[in-house]
């Protein structure tokens, strides 16, 4: 006789400790909620792992953790963010992302309805990016031991033969390209933090960049020295990191750096610098000067690169300074963010 199991009450129910204990409840959560949302042949087989074939090329692998607060924000949620972030880390190698894993650490009492929304947007983000979430894990911890939900991911992809994007490839004279406006994600999140009653229409830029990257690689090939996605610490951190790794400096032109007026205004109010604010759907590319035009044109032809711009160039500099000609006419350093991003008070 088949044991009766009550259906998951998605609308009113919530996660309890039994959903992480390895019993029927856990199996029900996994098949009823996650498999449903991610739906693919690998998960359907129900193994503890998934086997897959890999085509020609070198493999790339990445891992990432997501603890964003709030879990839902304008333009996405922790689920879509986890997929986009992982896909982008792979794509920055010029690689085609293929498979992801997702591990959920859920706090007791988390609403099924929210979990379903998050899982569904993960599934949707994965489908849109052409990747599959093929293995996962679920743990439930007592109330107060996690802030709602944490997601850890891993991702694998394949990079075509002959393509080797890395900071040491950069040369003085290379151009710095950025795929669009800066600071959208960070400001969208900050506007939703509960202690910050700040209304703004800024929507997170969270997006998978693999298709944009494919078009750029097509146009620029090995002329693309390296790519990075300027997430935490913003463009400033990314360029300082590249400067150190490539033993170069950078000269930027503030006028050329795209920032949405709303983001600029919010940063002004909070005492932040848009160059330090996180992005989740933007990339920086360091490109050989002779191919910069072609790569920029390919970026602008793509919906995620419409506002792409050339913002400066790499220069020889033992001190690895990232310098910027301000739009006002003076010069300054664009330094790492120091400490946490704290507002000035007056």
């Amino acid at each position: 006789m088949k044991a009766y199991q009550r259906k998951l009450d998605i609308r009113n129910g919530c996660v309890d400790l039994s959903h992480g204990s390895g019993g029927r409840a856990m199996a029900q959560l996994i098949s009823g909620l996650f498999h449903e949302a991610f739906g693919n042949e690998w998960l359907a087989r129900g193994n503890d792992q998934s086997a897959f074939d890999v085509g020609a090329g070198r493999m790339v692998m990445t891992t990432d953790g997501y603890v964003v607060s709030p879990l839902f924000f304008p333009g996405g949620n922790i689920g879509s963010l986890a997929v986009h972030g992982t896909v982008n880390d792979i794509a920055m190698a010029g690689a085609r992302p293929l498979y992801l894993s997702a591990s959920f650490i859920i706090e007791e009492g988390f609403r099924f309805a929210d979990l379903k929304l998050i899982a569904e947007s993960m599934g949707e983000a994965a489908r849109d990016a052409g990747v599959h979430i093929i293995t996962g894990d679920t743990k439930v911890v007592e109330r107060g031991k996690a802030d709602g939900l944490f997601i850890s991911t891993a991702g694998v992809g394949v990079v075509p033969h002959g393509l080797d994007l890395s900071a040491e490839n950069a040369r003085a004279g290379d151009r710095v390209l950025i795929s669009g406006t800066l600071g959208d994600h960070g400001v969208a999140i900050m506007s939703k933090r509960q202690n910050l009653a700040f209304e703004t229409e800024i929507v997170s830029d969270s997006a998978a960049l693999n298709d944009l990257v494919a078009k750029m690689v097509e146009a620029g090939g090995r002329g693309i020295r390296l790519m990075r996605d300027p997430t935490r610490g913003g463009l400033a951190a990314t360029l300082n990191e590249i400067a150190r790794q490539s033993d170069l400096g950078f000269h930027l032109r503030e006028e050329a750096i795209p920032v949405k007026p709303g983001v600029a205004a919010a940063c002004e109010l909070l005492g932040l610098d848009p160059l330090h604010v996180a992005n989740e759907g933007k990339l920086v590319a360091i490109v050989a000067p002779e191919l910069a035009g072609a790569v920029l044109a390919a970026m602008r032809a793509h919906p995620l690169g419409r506002d792409a711009a050339e913002i400066g160039e790499a220069v020889a500099d033992d001190h690895h300074f990232v310098q910027m000609a301000t739009s006002f006419g003076g010069g300054r350093i664009v330094d790492w963010l120091s400490g946490e991003q704290l507002p000035r008070i007056c």
Binding site: H319, I333, P343
Partner: protein
């Protein structure tokens, strides 16, 4: 961005830079102190130094409330915050300010103190209402600009009959500090530093007006221009100061006429004088004890005074002897003259106060301007 971009216009800046060059007498040095950290930040962030002639030098003054807060006051706040019944609310800049022996509020928070970062005094009232079982203390700092919000908060607490709310008051005043700098022996007697004029902070003057500087300009014979915080405001103020110097005038001029008048905000001044009174002395990091430069709550409001309510004892801590913050705040030395600058003292691990806030002279130079040191070294 409306009402901001207009004051950052490159074409107008180039015009002003040209006017400044034309005004500059090559035989004369022009040494102006911008009192306020907000000005220091604007100068560094927009790279104004590159647009001024070599004989026009800006000296970064002590007008950063975070920077001038003595380590002892931080220690007092940490000691209070470590009490289990206390929630300490602070502005974000204060979190990393070093107390004694590398202590900071950020580290105290990690060790379990309940310290909350707030953006406005209204947030503090909310925290007090949400936590009736805790004592909520606001770590109040800042010049005349941030004092009225603290006064409003105390009024609000009174009206709401909040019994679990108090203020650790560290509000300070601008004019006594400027006077203290001009009266310090190295400036007045030895003449090691000449200051030819002051850029006064506009936000402070939206509250106190321009009148309090009139005595000061007269007594010390130094021109004062009250200026806004946008880069064009700064450039215009510098030009106005140069004209006063060239014409041998020492007046109080108001560059920020779009928000500042002679008398200031009467309502705000009234609120502040209702609730606060002068302390005989207040310690400033770098300046030492400055008479009548700090505020405390009047006796009638003693129940909102955390120092009274929790019997807090004054703590005195000596600064690191190698730290030159004091001399830098008085304009006697530059950040690069300090042995600690950029070696053990950086924005990540600030030793002295000038490195803590981005408005501090050292942090501003480190974050935005240190490439010039290498350029100059190469040039020489």
């Amino acid at each position: 961005m409306k009402y901001a971009d207009e004051f950052r216009d490159k074409e107008i800046a180039l015009g002003l830079a040209k006017a400044i060059r034309a005004e500059a007498d090559p035989q004369k040095p022009y040494r102006f102190m911008e009192f306020c950290g907000g000005h220091t930040h604007a100068i560094s962030r927009y790279g104004l130094e590159d647009m001024l002639p070599r004989n026009v030098r800006m000296i970064h003054g002590p007008g950063c409330p975070v920077c001038v807060l003595p380590a002892g006051r931080i220690d007092m706040a940490i000691r209070l915050a470590m009490r289990p019944d206390i929630i300490l609310c602070v502005y974000g800049d204060l979190m990393r300010v070093p107390g004694s022996q590398g202590a900071s509020l950020l580290k105290a928070k990690a060790r379990g103190a309940d310290i909350r970062m707030v953006y406005s005094t209204i947030d503090v009232i909310r925290v007090a209402e949400d936590n009736p079982g805790s004592e909520v203390v606001f770590f109040a700092i800042g010049f005349e600009t941030t004092t009225p919000p603290t006064a409003v908060m105390i009024r609000l607490a009174e009206r709401k009959q909040l019994e679990n709310f108090s203020v650790f008051c560290n509000h300070v005043l601008t004019p006594p500090a400027m006077q203290n700098i001009l009266e310090s022996p190295e400036i007045r007697n030895i003449g090691r530093v000449e200051i030819d004029g002051f850029v006064g902070p506009a936000h402070v003057s939206t509250i106190i007006g321009t009148a309090p500087y009139e005595f000061f300009a007269e007594e010390f014979g130094k021109p004062v221009v009250i200026a806004g915080f946008e880069p064009l405001d700064m450039m215009q103020a510098i030009l106005m100061l140069m004209r006063q110097v060239n014409e041998n005038r020492h007046e109080v001029e108001n560059q920020y006429s779009r928000a500042v008048n002679r008398d200031g905000n009467l309502r705000a001044k009234e609120e502040v004088s209702d609730i606060f009174e002068l302390r005989d002395q207040f310690e400033w990091r770098g300046l030492g004890q400055v008479p009548y430069s700090g505020l405390k709550l009047k006796r009638a409001y003693a129940k909102y005074d955390a120092e009274v309510r929790f019997d807090m004892h004054e703590l005195r801590v000596d600064d690191n002897p190698a730290c030159e913050c004091g001399a830098i705040l008085r304009g006697v030395k530059k950040p690069v003259d300090c042995k600690l600058f950029g070696t053990v003292c950086t924005p990540e691990t600030p030793m002295g106060s000038c490195m803590v806030s981005s408005e501090g002279a050292c942090a501003a130079h480190w974050t935005y301007g240190r490439f010039r040191d290498h350029q100059q070294r190469r040039a020489s």
